[in-house]
Amino acid sequence: MDQQHIRNFCIIAHIDHGKSTLADRLLELTGALSTREMQAQVLDSMELERERGITIKAHTVTLRHRTADGEEVRLNLIDTPGHVDFSYEVSRSLAACEGALLVVDASQGVEAQTLANAYLAVEQGLELVPVLNKIDLPAAEPERVREQIAQVVGIDASESLAISAKSGDGVAAVLAALVERIPPPGGDPGAPLRALVFDASYDPYRGVRCLVRVVDGEMTVGQPVRFMGVGHDDQVAELGILTPRAVPVERLGAGEVGYLFAGLKELRRVRVGDTVTSSRQPAIAPLPGFREAKPMVFAGLYPVDSTAFGELREALEKLSLNDSAFSFQADTSQALGFGFRCGFLGLLHMEIVQERLEREFGLDLITTAPGVEYRVLTTRGEVVEVSNPAQMPDPGSIEAIEEPVILATILTPDAYLGGILKLAQERRGEQISMEYLGGGRVLLVYRLPLAEVVLDFFDRLKSVSRGYASLDYHLDGYRTGDLVRLDLLVNGEPVDALATIVHRSGAYQRARGLAAKLGEMIPRQLFEVVIQAAIHNRVIAREVVRPLRKNVIAKCYGGDITRKRKLLERQKEGKKRLKRLGRVDIPQEAFLAVLRVET
């Protein structure tokens, strides 16, 4: 297909602003699927995604559209993940496009995440087509939102489209705009092959499936190819396009988007952002922008039943076949036994992995509090990377500790500014800029320690702004901090899995909050339970769980002892789900207590 008849685009939108609904309408209008075949929101095909109403893995579809002039144009919709954890994948998806639909809820206005992705798209030279969605809502203010787009994103919004993806109103105009306003792909069909891998997934029968955008040259079935970033040579086994059903083709030319099966069986060997070239006639340089997805958030995962360690290992290995962004390595905790230290892109990613392990593999897990990876400079001049607080070197041998910091963009109505400034300050944020955008909205940029953000920053931000503030962030290097390890002791015994790294300035408050929270979470037992928080063996907070005083003792009467015994057995079963440390039964949630501490 010649490049003039191709358009590659994606949809940039905030959660709930209607991206998936619009995608469904586009599929319907172009006849990609009959209405009968339509399942609501076809593109969010993972069960978990549909449940949460978010897109985790990118999906892509090729639409055949006939213009008013009767010309057939192939529209490649490149779906992008909708969460800050996956911003690198977003950037690669954007790199595969020449344009983007900027979908904004006409009743809500622009949100931080949309803004961050829109800026990214503008930087990458994409043509943005603003689309105001949900104009049928009574609260819709298309004029105000149009102005906002012009002012905040800095693009001409005068020709933005007003639609209702739900009812289908105005969606036909979106198709026309895609053809007229988004430029066809450039690229040199005669040059050596260069194709961008913008997504990869694992098919249990076929191995690794890459989604590629051919930039230069062409790719054909049987062609020997090289993945330049990872240095892997392979051969094209199958090529095809997604309509959304997979339709095999013999070749993909410059500007085209499709899928590729090579001989690869392990997803770990493929990196999103990599360039595929011809082995025989390799390109001189790969496409720009490739980097490894680096885990930013770390937590321990332990099986509740310690005999399930092997099962957990197998499950992690299987899961890593189609999620190359998380890392895991065996770890031991005195409190929790054998488990794994796992690295994730962010908190949502962590929750997704944990849920998939429990749901798809039937594992019962204890997750320890999420933390970040610190760089510890020792007095001997070494740099040690520490992601597990329990493995922090002895305080005497530490010269300095550096922690990762992020650059956070927060967009909020000005009514909530006070609360947000206070929150950012509490979390050791450093204000970089504050800009009034008009329409009562403020754009804040903060440099914040990542460790303060992975706890519950997002939830707190939502609560101080009644859900109106939005957040986007990216990693911004490391910064030295006065950090100490806060140990938690239960009946005098340190519990390694409860240790956290905190800033000295907030240590007392955190210690008191954590001890109090644990005191609430640990059920009353036959004995007194003493919880202590300590820094360098010095106790700075103490909480006591008073012993149980009274059970409701049902009558053992009329000989119905069976019921009584069954209750006892259930009680014992319930206890198995608690972790017994010494003689103290600690519930699973307690290991995440740090997330529940009110600050």
Binding site: I553, C556, G558, R583
Partner: protein, 412 residues
């Protein structure tokens, strides 16, 4: 303690009728008209015949317990016919088994008492619940405090060997002083036996529904604990020491000869809707070994249909009205022995436990026992017969958790 054929089996007869359903009660009870009540004795007699054919224990029953519901609602003539059928079809102790009857205070008249005495009733158990009119109204009872006192005195005058008084404590908002007054009235009447139950809110009861809607707030556990302590201290001082978590007697001969069987795996046959039965199955029936009460004996427990109509259909058709059953191997029996033993002041006979289940509790749960003894929940007592592990009053207060804290092999 543990399966043994030393104690003779007990017979339980469930009379499910009540004149009104108490808002806290989750037993198999119902209000029913004259016709259903009139034919109930005949149905029970039919079940006696059915059960007699399959009851495996040849030894005589030395207790017969009419429980409910409200057995005192059945005319003495009906009770007499049922007893006669039992004597006819089942081996009863000679000269006569000890007969228990539960009665509501409003049914206790000198005439009724005389009739029950003639039937051979030796323990009359009165559902007093409280002597306080407000508490009685809250509990949905149909008698007053004065009627309750009169009932106890009438029963005593009638010459029953033991008059037992049931009380309930832990009502929402109940103060220690209010509960103490109930206890004072009770010991002032000097019954041989007292049962003091903590009010339990069961889900499918009027109170359960009210609690779920937030209209009824249970007494906090610290206050429940205080009332429990008060009960045990007060009654021990007054001369009614506890022998079980809820049961108190002025002397050993007033302790319930019947209920004790439930706690030590003595066989019992239960007849009537929802009644439970338990029998020992000699090991030889399983493995060809011939030590009936020995280490490898199994228990067999079964229970009747709960609903009167369903139960009736079975017995009318000449079938056993059994709704469910289970076989108890040594792990389940061990678990029950510990669970039930730790509810009694006598506790668990450690040597017998070790001999029967091969588990030395002190050795296998050494750290736990040490800590529980130090915490004042348990004591290890040396008896002439051997060592016993017994709860203190503080231990009895959390008896449910005590048994659950032990590591025992779970039944598979």
């Amino acid at each position: 303690m543990a399966p043994t054929h030393r104690s003779l089996p007990g017979l339980y007869l469930h009379v499910p009728f009540c004149s009104a359903i108490c808002p806290y009660c989750d037993f198999a009870v119902l209000r029913a008209g004259g016709a259903i009540r009139a034919r109930f004795a005949d149905r029970l007699i039919a079940e006696v015949a059915i059960a007699a054919a399959s009851w495996p224990d040849p030894r005589p029953f030395d207790t017969v317990y009419f429980g409910g519901g409200t057995p005192s609602l059945l005319p003495p003539g009906d009770l007499a016919r049922v007893l006669a059928a039992c004597a006819d079809r089942l081996p009863l102790a000679s000269p006569a088994p000890w007969v228990f009857l539960e009665a509501n205070p409003e049914d206790v008249t000198p005439g009724a008492c005389a009739a029950w005495r003639r039937l051979g009733v030796r323990t009359l158990s009165l559902g007093v619940q409280s002597f306080d009119d407000d508490a009685l109204r809250f509990l949905g009872r149909r008698h007053t405090g004065r009627q309750a006192r009169t009932a106890v005195e009438t029963a005593q005058a009638a010459g029953f060997d033991t008059v037992s008084v049931d009380l309930i404590f832990g009502l929402p908002g109940q103060t220690a002083a209010a509960w103490r007054r109930d206890l004072e009235v009770a010991v002032g009447l000097s019954p041989g036996h007292l049962s003091c139950y903590q009010l339990t809110i069961h889900p499918r009861t009027v109170f359960g529904v009210r609690a779920a809607r937030g209209q009824l707030v249970e007494l906090p556990d610290t206050e429940q604990a205080a009332l429990f302590d008060l009960t045990h201290r007060f009654l021990a001082d007054a001369g009614w020491p506890a022998y079980e978590v809820s049961n108190f007697a002025s002397s050993p001969e007033h302790r319930s000869r019947h209920n004790r069987k439930y706690w030590d795996h003595t066989p019992y046959l239960g007849l009537g809707p929802s009644a439970h039965s338990f029998a020992l199955v000699p090991a030889s029936a399983h493995a060809g070994r011939a030590d009936a009460g020995g280490a490898s004996a199994r228990g067999h427990r079964w229970w009747n249909e709960r609903h009167l109509r369903v139960w009736e259909q079975y017995v009318v058709a000449g079938k056993r009205p059994v709704a469910g059953e289970e076989l108890l191997g040594p792990p389940a029996l061990a678990s029950e022995t510990l669970l039930l033993g730790l509810r009694t002041t006598a506790g668990v006979d450690l040597d017998a436990f070790a001999a029967r289940y091969g588990i030395d509790l002190l050795e296998t749960n050494h750290a736990l026992v040490t800590r529980l003894v130090r915490a004042g929940r348990l004591q290890v007592r040396e008896d002439p017969q051997g060592q016993r592990l017994a709860p203190t009053v503080r231990g009895l207060a959390v008896a449910d958790s005590l048994a659950a804290a032990f590591d025992l092999p779970l039944p598979t």
